[in-house]
Subunit: 347 residues, 3 copies
């Protein structure tokens, strides 16, 4: 009964957003319709993720969620690369990384922490996540240090070498975490709640809801760009914050729902796993694709973007390394996010 009502609302709001996108010229109406729709779609995606996580365990469920969530981002960024909008691509990569680490994780930890005094997860996983993020930081930081002395052609070669290394490291990480050492990184939490659907239907639901979220996100991104232009916001801020917040709607709803059910391990996996996937897989894939497309994009980020990714990584490592979270740690993550958002807003 309840489920039927839910899907009726999901369908109706999606159709309204579709109508606004294709037939209306009022951008504010397009924006509001798409935003309302994304809220319900994200709730559907969250339920699907939770159900998959029930069968697959928090880590693989988190990985599937991160992958489906980032598939949309990869597709959007691919079209931006094709049009040569490199600055926008890098701003949105930066925004997605810090958005996941600070906003998604921050809200999850805070909301979960208001309900549970302390939530624990596998600290070994936190340690490995930290080391992987360090690799990503190194990969983005080194080219920025060396660029002053290098001619463009060498920066491009260096970008390709680093991109290949990062993808290789990410593939080996999947081998490590899913095959050779999957037992090491398993979750501490126990799952008692009954899942909504059977295993097969859950995975199908996850795939379909992700696609709908992706479509709706694109409409939302399209309308928000016009809305923000009329508000006078800079492209850097829109790319790194507005689009990133909307683009991460899937991760937001899934992670927060899980955290509020006491499953902070799965929430951490979604938030940090998604950041890692963007830094170690999405970003280097885009660089390699840009060379294939004949529009080479290098791996050199601006000092603002590096500073933002750097501080986000360090505060996240500091907070997750003990394998336990509480509400105040959520406050700290959100405080850093607001500081970065304000600074980007003023640039």
């Amino acid at each position: 009964m309840k489920l039927r009502l839910f899907f009726t609302v999901v369908g109706a709001t999606f159709l309204l957003a579709a109508y606004a996108h294709y037939f209306s010229e009022n951008e504010m109406f397009q924006f509001i319709a798409a935003a309302i729709s994304v809220v319900f779609l994200a709730a559907w995606l969250g339920k699907s993720t939770e159900s998959v996580a029930h069968y697959a365990g928090d880590r693989i469920g988190g990985f599937l969620n991160a992958t489906f969530g980032n598939a949309a981002e990869l597709i959007i960024a691919f079209f931006l690369v094709k049009e040569g909008l490199f600055e926008m691509v890098k701003a949105s990569i930066t925004g997605a990384i810090i958005g996941n680490m600070l906003l998604v994780l921050g809200l999850s930890v805070l909301m979960g922490g208001l309900k549970y005094k302390e939530q624990k997860f596998n600290s070994r996983l936190a340690g490995h996540n930290a080391s992987l993020m360090m690799l990503a930081i190194v990969a983005l930081f080194i080219p920025a240090v060396f660029i002053r002395e290098l001619p463009p052609v060498k920066i491009e070669t260096l970008s390709i070498v680093i991109a290949v290394l990062l993808i290789l490291a990410y593939v080996l990480w999947l081998v490590f975490s899913m095959i050779t050492h999957s037992d090491f990184l398993s979750d501490i939490e126990e799952h008692e709640s009954a899942p909504l659907w059977s295993k097969g239907v859950s995975i199908l639901m996850l795939a379909i809801s992700t696609i709908f979220v992706a479509i709706d996100s694109e409409w939302l991104v399209h309308s928000v760009q016009h809305v923000s232009k009329s508000l006078g916001w800079s492209e850097l801020f829109v790319g790194a914050f507005v689009i990133a917040i909307i683009g991460n709607a899937a991760e937001h709803s899934a992670a927060m729902l899980l955290a509020m059910k006491g499953r902070i391990g799965a929430a951490v996996e979604i938030a940090i796993g998604s950041s890692l996937q963007i830094a170690l897989f999405v970003a280097p894939t885009l660089i390699l694709l840009s060379f294939v497309l004949g529009k080479p994009m290098n791996i050199v980020f601006t000092s603002f973007e590096l500073a933002a990714i750097g501080v986000a990584t360090f505060i996240t490592i500091s907070i997750t390394k003990d394998g336990a979270t509480n509400w105040f740690e959520g406050v700290l993550l959100l405080a850093v996010y607001i500081i970065l958002g304000t600074a980007f807003f003023f640039v």
Copy 2:
């Protein structure tokens, strides 16, 4: 008996310092008299803190000590802001932060370590302290990165936003550590020694001795400025090291006394708690006050000051994160302090 003799000496040396300050013109005499007096006043303050800590527990005792100690610094800095001496204010904030983390903590760990092979404290508290210091670093680092691109008026708005966020984070930290999670951060140590005074008298003693230390510190700061000018020392060095060392006399004596009695947890709380209070409460309060006074001071520190605060924070986090200290870790903290002191001396 002993106590009466002690207070006689405290009173006599204070009267000598007062005489020198108001009636003598010899600055070297003023300096020596104030310095001798501050040693005995600091001893009195140390005993009071210890006594309060006995009743209140190490954490609240440490918090009270840090607050009384920093009240004096806040008052002095307020007058400097009023006169527009922003560089001096920032130098003294920098000096107070690194002085507490490196000199006060270093000496406490070293002196305590010469007596006890290893001293343990609550490592959970160390983890939270580290995350809070990371927030402070982010708050100081981000404006410095973005300043190149921003007009002054935006830097001022950014400074106000960050100042409000830091104060908010500090207030929530007090809520977290004193109310919602006070049991999480409680001390491991047991206290067996009998206190000198009853609970009420102890708190009164703490308040009065702090006021006397504050008055005497001001005399000392006044005379040391003249003495150091005649020695040819730079304002940056005097502000960040000479004044900071004297201004932290209270923290020094209290922390070292506690560490030598095996209560390293209280010593860490005083040293790091005081640093945090300066970075998250005193500094942002001064920024907000400067706008109220119509003499806006931004939050942009020099690269020297940021480098000093950054390295001090990282070495302190590295040493305290395991919740145990030994003499060699005190040596490391002091070595970093001497390196920074030498570098500032030469600028």
Copy 3:
């Protein structure tokens, strides 16, 4: 029997390398002969280290290995300082530090990890190593930040002060780790394999094999410089990577052999202990010697070198801090090494 055959091969290849060095003019032949010889000499050194470690424990064995290994580097660098080749000296110091932390440790962790699912060692030692590396980073970073504002003569004085402090810290570290707290840092591992030689013969073997490796390394360095010049490689790359890899042959073979026998604690001690010894003892000793020789070399490293040492330190701390290693962590260390190597190759 087997041992006699081994020493016959060691002797024969060494004589061939000696013949090539003194009587041949073909640099490629010199290079190949010296390279083959160093492989067997390094194997001899590895066996000697293992045997000494059996009697002395992993830590003292590791310390002896690091010291003998770095003695050669100190001697070579001394002659470079004498000729005023300061850039080459600093490049080779950088290369030795990152080579030990990333390549030696990375290969040891990877090879050991392919055999054992997880290898554990004393995490308290890892914590102290991290704090010491932080001190080294501070000591190299601070002069680079302050150099813009300081005249050369003050940079020289600052260099001497920092050099003396680092040597003092290193000596106190030996006192701490060998005398006052040797039991704290002892190994978890148990040694069951029988040693090859008696205690006295083992130490003798370690000393003699180190000398032979040192001699052969010099021949190799000599020929590799000519070979790499004809290949068009930069001096920075040759100094920081080619020479460093060859110069660390001793550490490589010893650490990898121990890791593959399950003694990762000794391998970590060799790799990180050697880095620490270079940063805290070899580098400052060279600076002090340069002033004695009347050819003052300051402690200011280039931003490339600082970035390389910085990222190497942070990723190594991140990976070793939990006191356990696995194959994927070896992959991460090697990935960072390849990124740095590629960047230096292009400069």
